[in-house]
Symmetry: C2
Subunit: 390 residues, 2 copies
């Protein structure tokens, strides 16, 4: 039986066109884009073509504002640490939210060891940041606000445009971790009026190990990786040209197919939520009911553990996850779920279901039916469930 | 006519076996090694297989001592900045040489902005560091010595084992940029007694955009990229699995074929140097006559400019470079060549010729003959040459 992948957020399959472009790139074995000779010319042209495609996806004013990196995580580290170090003379205060990805949280924790101070703004029960709280947190020492776009565990989408307005008014730089949103929903850096966004190719059917960082012209930040003059001196190291070619093709398709993919995913998401509510009792759909990623559903199943559900679904060749792959293996309950006031037990019973262009309604229906049985089996064995029903 | 690539150091062609393994990886489209489900298991196994192969190449005591990065440059930044930040309380003094790659020099320059002090030890006319000078430079504030293995412009190989002994005796960490040596000549981290080495897949017929960092157990350094728990918490970000698979295969072949490749390259190097000396007047072969990379010749052609030679050779479909691709585009004379007391004009007339497994004697012979004609043509136009011969 074919595997039903409902864990797109960790392992988004390559588009066939991306796969073909990467295979062709490997066969051609382009030179080094930094070489002065003709082998370098060809490689350089291909690199810049990919940059144009990525720029178009986020409506960057110029391809030159895009830096290719090795992951969304590297982009986030580059943005946060780069701004912090370059602007230390102005101040050492940074504002974030309490539901950020580990890449943001741990970059900030690292900076606290060098004397930076971080204010973490709390979200409400839907996972939303209140812009008024961000406004209040700004001091004359604040140099950066970093708040994510779409949350990777509950899907909630933050009011980035409004937050950027506040930041600009106060002359503070704004970075957003847009790893889950770029290529999935429209992200327009000019319309948002944002300074920095981080994103990753594998979220929109491109390869793993390639990311992008948009840097608005004039933003002052240090490189994370110093050395040669690649990426206009902003990120040294010989480029992963094969991966970048894949990212370029994935970006072009994501841009062209944005509307059709969005309506497909919204249909699947509605079908999934409706089906789950109909067929399974005692569940919670987490995140904001409207302001939410189109390709993600966070589901808490009461009285049982998410890890057990994942394993039993895996035996039925259905792949889902309990949380960000980057945090799997950790036994602690998700900081995101605890931040939206889910109780500890419900947080432990939470699944993240993500899907994409190639996902079918049949797969969604099969998942609901199999999950129904898995939940029934697990609840039969659960002392918590028995107690609550007696 | 087929292109004769004598610029392996910037664009080392993929081994056919590496190419095939990467294409297969793209077709299989493995999952995310961090996922808890079965798609993750497969990806994780493949990742660890590649790590074992790389560990074997440098005789690492354990595969766990290898961290995969996105380039030799990232590895170098990670090692230098990571040791500097983690050991700041002990001291802020670092020792290096004056012929390091830009990745080392610029990482160090960055650290000087955060209060670190750098001592740069000079090399002799052959490009060799004198260990006694390193010994003298050590103070009780010294936390790190970073000296490269094989120089990327002149080929000189430093006495790393002796330098490591000094460092260990003084309780100072030792890092070596081994980008040009790992996979080209034997590099045995246990025999060297070294703490950290940086290396890159594309130097030994693997893909660009993948590097490695060896960290001896017990060495204290911060990650460069914080976030998820990948690479045992030492380097966050979803892995470039396709590239890493390619690096693993390239490492295995480099390890197996080390001796045959070495004797092939030594033969080519002798033939090249002998032929150049026979056929072209007024040339200088730079670097140490014996302690030198087997796959690199640095040649200064008096009275003419290297860039003109590169362009004319390019028209004849022969690819060489004037210096590190990372520094090409810069009009300044190479800091490496000036450090070995080459005069400015000779430094401007310098070519770096690098080759590898697939290079043939015929290609070397053709290069010498074409170069002879190119040099004659350019010297005919050179006022410098005419003056020196009247």
């Amino acid at each position: 039986m074919k595997v039903t992948n409902l864990d797109y957020i960790s392992a988004n399959p390559l588009l066939p066109e991306v796969r073909d472009a990467m295979i062709e790139a490997i066969k051609k074995d382009y030179g080094n884009p930094s070489s002065a000779h003709s082998l370098g010319d060809e490689a350089r042209n291909i690199l810049e073509k990919a940059r144009e495609r990525v720029a178009l996806l986020i409506n960057s004013p110029s391809p030159d504002d895009i830096v290719f990196t090795s992951s969304g995580t590297e982009s986030i580290n580059h943005a946060i640490k780069g701004v912090a170090f370059a602007n230390a003379k102005k101040g050492k205060h940074i504002i974030t939210s309490n539901i950020e990805h580990n890449s943001v949280l741990k970059s900030l924790r690292r900076l606290t060891k060098s004397g930076y101070r971080v204010t973490s703004v709390e979200v409400d029960k839907n996972g939303l940041v209140d812009p008024a709280n961000v406004h209040k947190a700004i001091t004359d020492q604040t140099i950066l606000i970093s708040i994510m776009h779409g949350n990777n565990e509950i899907g909630t989408i933050q009011p980035i445009k409004e937050l950027c307005c506040i930041a600009r008014e106060k002359n503070v730089l704004f970075h957003s971790d847009c790893v889950t949103s770029v290529g999935i929903m429209p992200v327009d850096v000019q319309e948002l009026g944002i300074d920095l966004i981080s994103f990753s190719a594998n979220q929109f059917n491109g390869p793993s190990g390639v990311g992008g960082l948009y840097i608005r012209k004039g933003v002052n930040l240090w490189p994370l990786i110093d050395g040669g003059g690649q990426e206009n001196g902003r990120r040294a190291g010989t480029e992963n040209l094969i991966g970048i070619i894949g990212m370029g093709v994935a970006a072009e398709f994501a841009h062209q197919e944005m509307q059709s993919r969005l309506s497909h995913m919204k249909k699947l998401k509605n079908r999934l939520i409706t089906g789950l509510k109909e067929k399974i009792d005692d569940i919670i759909i987490n995140g904001h009911p409207e302001l939410s990623l189109p390709n993600l559903v966070s589901l808490s199943v009461k009285y049982i553990e998410g890890e057990s559900i994942v394993l039993m679904l895996d035996e039925e060749k259905i792949i889902v996850s309990t949380r960000s792959a980057c945090a799997s293996g950790s036994l602690r309950a998700s900081h995101v779920l605890l931040s939206i006031d889910l109780d500890y037990a419900d947080a432990q019973g939470t699944l993240v279901i993500t899907f994409g262009k190639a996902t079918t309604e049949d797969e969604i229906d099969r998942f609901i039916n199999v999950l129904k049985n898995v939940v029934a089996t697990l609840r039969d064995m659960s002392p918590l469930y028995k107690k609550s029903n007696t």
